[in-house]
Structures are given as structure tokens and as C-alpha cells.
């Protein structure tokens, strides 16, 4: 029972943290660009307002358009609850599998892509087409990184991987870990629609990927989509943090350990987010057809990680 409470707590934690993370990243960026920028809590205010506004369904759209935001939100919540962010003693062992997590993320992407196509607008279709292309090309990198990580423990169970890493830090700081982290980091950028793959703050439709799919959403639909997108960023950064900096993740259900792990998780995710935001100041979006190059590079990194893992085993 306590384990289920931990899972629910994790889901709530990630859901609550995600808008703050976005605000923090915007603030870092604004600071480096010489602007004053909004407050950390601004994304939360945006969400609160959007939730109260009226949703609009395009005339030709059907059930997919309406269903996509809750489905996207549900996949994010499920991953947030199942992944061992705070404790490795999660109850959802058949869900907290790295391959399942990759699949659930893809399911959310697909829901949104279908919604984009369901609107019948040119931009919706364009965004869906690009998003699916990128998602398809990211898969090999993601799974090779999974491969490299799972080799050490002989299982793709996230809790087992994190627990093994927390028990033996030397395994994490190794060439395998570094290569897998680099490969996964590029994949995370592509999955969460950050620079240089997609520009989350663009207003130019022709360069949009994620934004183009959601141009038709309004009101609470939009709130759910943006909230879920923010959660996906937190989830992915959280995965990077827990897999490659596994220290502090609670291996018991002791309240003190859980509280410490929660605080540490927030610190790790915010640090990674700040790093990402600072890095983005120095980057420009690459052309869509240069993205495969980037992903091929990260694919090679993943492959090297796998090879290194078997050489050093």
C-alpha cells in the first residue's frame, strides 16, 4: 500500500514540479539573454488560466482531437508514477520497464500526432509528419542506450538499474555510463522538442514541429497538452538524472529517506534543466533534414556504449 502511495506521490510531484521547471528554464534563458524574464511561477499561472478557458473543437475534427490531451497526460502521469525517481520500491514493476517507458512516451506522441491530423489543417499535418519522422529516427538511439544500461544488470527493469547504480557508483562513472548518457541526452533533446531539434518558443509556423500540432488547441485542452509536454521534459530529465546520478534515490520506504530523495530529485532535475537552458542560448535550431545527422551521431555513441559495455564486462 505504501508503495502505491509513493507512486501516486511521484506522479503528483512531477506534475507539480514540471511547470516550475519550465519557469526556471525560461528564467535562466532570459537572464543570459539580458532580459528580465517572467517569474518561475508564470507557467503555473498560464496553466491555471487556460484550464478555466473554453476549449474549442475544429469543425471537422473527431474524437481523436478531444481524446489526445487526456491520453498524453495519462501516459505522462503513468511514467511519472512508475519510474523510480524517489524510491526504487515502486509497485509497478511491470510498468517501470525501460522499453515500456519508451513505448508509453511514443504512445503520447502518437496521440498528439493523430490529433494534429484530425484537425485537417495544413499545419497540423505538417507538425504530425515531422514529429513522427523524428520519433521514428530517435528509437534506435533510445533502445541502444537502454541496451547499454541494461547490460550491467541483465534486466530492463528501471528499479533494478537504478538500485544497482546507487549501490555501486563506480559503475555509473565509467566510459559506458558517459557514452550512454551522451547518447540518451541527444535523444532526450529530440523527444522533448528542445533545441537544436525543435524550438519551443518559435512563432514561425514553417519551423514548428511540436507547436504546429497543437495550434488548434484552446482552453483546458491546451492546458493539458502544455502541462503534459512540461511533464515529459521533467520525466526525461528525471530519467537522465536517476540513471546517471542515482545517488540519493531511496531504496526503502522510510519517510526520512523518501523526503531526502524527493528534495534531491528536484535539485537534480532543476540543475539539469538549468544546464539545458543555458546550453540552448548557444544553439540554433538545425534544419529538419540535418536532424538525422545529429541522431546518427547519437546512435553511434549508443553503439559504442554497448560495445564498451561488452568489452569491459
Amino acid at each position: 500500500m505504501a508503495a502505491y502511495a509513493v507512486a501516486a506521490g511521484q506522479a503528483v510531484l512531477v506534475a507539480a514540479l514540471a511547470p516550475w521547471l519550465l519557469g526556471w528554464m525560461r528564467a535562466v534563458r532570459a537572464r543570459l539573454e539580458g532580459r528580465a524574464g517572467g517569474r518561475f511561477g508564470q507557467p503555473w499561472r498560464d496553466l491555471r488560466k487556460q484550464l478555466r478557458k473554453e476549449p474549442i473543437t475544429p469543425a471537422d475534427a473527431g474524437v481523436f482531437f478531444v481524446a489526445a490531451p487526456p491520453v498524453l497526460m495519462a501516459t505522462s502521469l503513468l511514467i511519472a508514477g512508475a519510474a523510480p525517481y524517489v524510491s526504487t520500491r515502486g509497485p509497478l514493476s511491470g510498468v517501470a520497464d525501460l522499453v515500456v517507458v519508451v513505448g508509453l512516451l511514443l504512445l503520447g506522441t502518437v496521440a498528439l500526432a493523430l490529433a494534429g491530423l484530425d484537425t485537417g489543417t495544413a499545419f497540423g499535418g505538417m507538425g504530425a509528419s515531422r514529429e513522427m519522422t523524428i520519433a521514428a529516427l530517435v528509437e534506435p538511439t533510445l533502445l541502444l542506450a537502454v541496451f547499454a544500461l541494461s547490460t550491467r544488470v541483465g534486466s530492463t527493469d528501471l528499479a533494478a538499474i537504478v538500485a544497482a547504480g546507487a549501490a555501486d557508483p563506480a559503475r555509473v562513472i565509467s566510459p559506458v555510463g558517459a557514452l550512454a548518457a551522451a547518447a540518451l541526452a541527444v535523444a532526450v533533446l529530440a523527444e522533448s522538442g528542445r533545441l537544436p531539434v525543435d524550438n519551443p518558443s518559435t512563432h514561425l509556423e514553417l519551423t514548428m514541429v511540436h507547436e504546429a500540432m497543437v495550434l488548434e488547441y484552446a482552453g483546458r485542452d491546451l492546458a493539458l497538452v502544455e502541462w503534459a509536454a512540461a511533464m515529459r521534459l521533467s520525466i526525461l530529465l528525471g530519467l537522465l538524472a536517476t540513471l546517471f546520478l542515482p545517488w540519493g534515490v531511496a531504496t526503502s520506504l522510510h519517510p526520512a529517506a523518501l523526503a531526502g530523495a524527493t528534495a534531491l530529485f528536484a535539485v537534480k532535475v532543476f540543475a539539469l534543466g538549468g544546464l539545458l537552458a543555458a546550453g540552448e542560448v548557444f544553439l540554433a535550431k538545425v534544419r529538419l533534414f540535418r536532424v538525422p545527422e545529429l541522431l546518427a551521431g547519437s546512435f553511434v555513441l549508443g553503439l559504442l556504449a554497448v560495445l564498451t559495455a561488452s568489452v569491459l564486462a
Binding site: 566510459p175 541522431l295 551521431g297 546512435f299
Partner: protein, 218 residues
């Protein structure tokens, strides 16, 4: 695993990553930067091996390799680049994504092919020997598929670095004379190519080596 072995595997990883990075990047300055880093990694490997078995000659080779690969050769390349305005590999014969996949395939091949070598001397150092082989293959690939003269020189230097790495790792060091002889050859090659590039630039306003076909008698 002892610290020394860890450092060695780190140096080997860096060595291979630099080669992959050379395929990844298009800016010629970045290529030279990566080559410098790779030279440093190679020197690092040599130093670590020399420390394993303290030997003044081996240490001298390591230092010489470091000076040459991370100092002299990159400096020469930068000088070439300073005279040639085209600073990017705009249209390689094989596109970058395919090159990277080819690099992955070659790494796998190197790993599979070097297995007997590893079994022969099952030391930690020999286990990393496939890295050198992979770099040799990547170097050849680079030289074969890039248009700019500077990229091709970098490719040849990768080949040399790879050979040196295999020699170091598999045998625990190359005889001083051999290594210095090879390096002198290479220095000569770079100097010749430097002259060639400058002439090419003067004749065609470009350093695309495919233009050399124009010189053929018809």
C-alpha cells in the same frame, strides 16, 4: 579495476570518440581541434603504458608523440587552413548520417576482427586494441569520401594515429626508431600536401581535390 586501467579505457574512449567526431562535424577548424584532442589522447595512452613499465625510452616516445600529434601537425594544418578560405566540408561524397552509420559498422567489424588479437594477449591493454583498428578504418573512410584537401589530410593522420594506437596497445610500445620514422614520413606528407593545397587554391580558387581531374591529359 585499477585506476590506471580506468584511465586507459577513458583515453581509448576519447581516442575513438574524436574519430567519430571528425566524421560528425563539417567545420574544418573543428576537425583540427578534434585531431589535436585525439593526439593528446594518444599521447595519454602512451604515457600510461610507459608508466606501467617504467622505461625512459618509452616515456621519450610518448612525449615525442604528444608534441608531434597534438602540437606540430595541428599547427601545420591550421596554417594551411589560414590560407584557404573554404572552411567547411560542404558536400562530402557520402552524407554525414550515412558516414556515421558506416563508422558504426566499421567499429563493429574492427571489434569482431580484432578478437583473435585480444585472445592472444588477454591483458586490459590488448582489449582496447580494436579501438585503434576502428580509427584506422574511419581514417581511410574519411580520406576516401571527403572533398576538401584538409579533410583528407586529417583522414590520413587518423590512419596513422590508429596504427600507432594498435601498436602501443597490442605490443606495449613501438620501437622508438620505427615510430619516429613513420612520423617523419607523415610530416613530409603534410608539408607536401600543404604546398599542393596552396597551389590548388591558386589555380582553381578552391581546394576540392576532384578538380585535379582537370589536369589530366585528354
Amino acid at each position: 579495476m585499477p585506476v590506471n586501467d580506468q584511465l586507459l579505457s577513458l583515453a581509448c574512449g576519447l581516442f575513438l570518440l574524436c574519430a567519430v567526431g571528425v566524421l560528425w562535424r563539417r567545420e574544418l577548424t573543428a576537425l583540427i581541434g578534434l585531431l589535436t584532442l585525439q593526439g593528446a589522447a594518444l599521447a595519454g595512452i602512451a604515457v600510461l603504458l610507459a608508466l606501467d613499465d617504467p622505461h625512459p625510452e618509452a616515456l621519450a616516445v610518448a612525449v615525442a608523440v604528444g608534441v608531434l600529434k597534438a602540437g606540430v601537425l595541428p599547427w601545420l594544418l591550421r596554417r594551411i587552413l589560414a590560407r584557404v578560405p573554404a572552411a567547411r566540408e560542404t558536400a562530402p561524397l557520402v552524407n554525414v548520417a550515412a558516414s556515421l552509420l558506416a563508422a558504426a559498422a566499421m567499429t563493429l567489424l574492427a571489434y569482431a576482427a580484432a578478437r583473435p588479437l585480444v585472445d592472444l594477449a588477454p591483458a586490459a591493454t590488448a582489449r582496447a586494441a580494436p579501438v585503434g583498428l576502428a580509427v584506422v578504418l574511419i581514417g581511410f573512410f574519411l580520406a576516401a569520401t571527403r572533398r576538401r584537401a584538409v579533410s583528407q589530410i586529417v583522414g590520413l593522420l587518423l590512419v596513422d594515429n590508429g596504427i600507432a594506437a594498435v601498436a602501443f596497445l597490442a605490443t606495449g610500445g613501438v620501437p622508438l626508431v620505427v615510430e619516429l620514422g613513420v612520423s617523419a614520413d607523415l610530416l613530409l606528407a603534410v608539408l607536401v600536401l600543404q604546398v599542393l593545397t596552396t597551389r590548388l587554391q591558386a589555380a582553381f580558387g578552391d581546394t576540392d581535390l576532384d578538380d585535379l581531374r582537370e589536369l589530366r591529359d585528354r
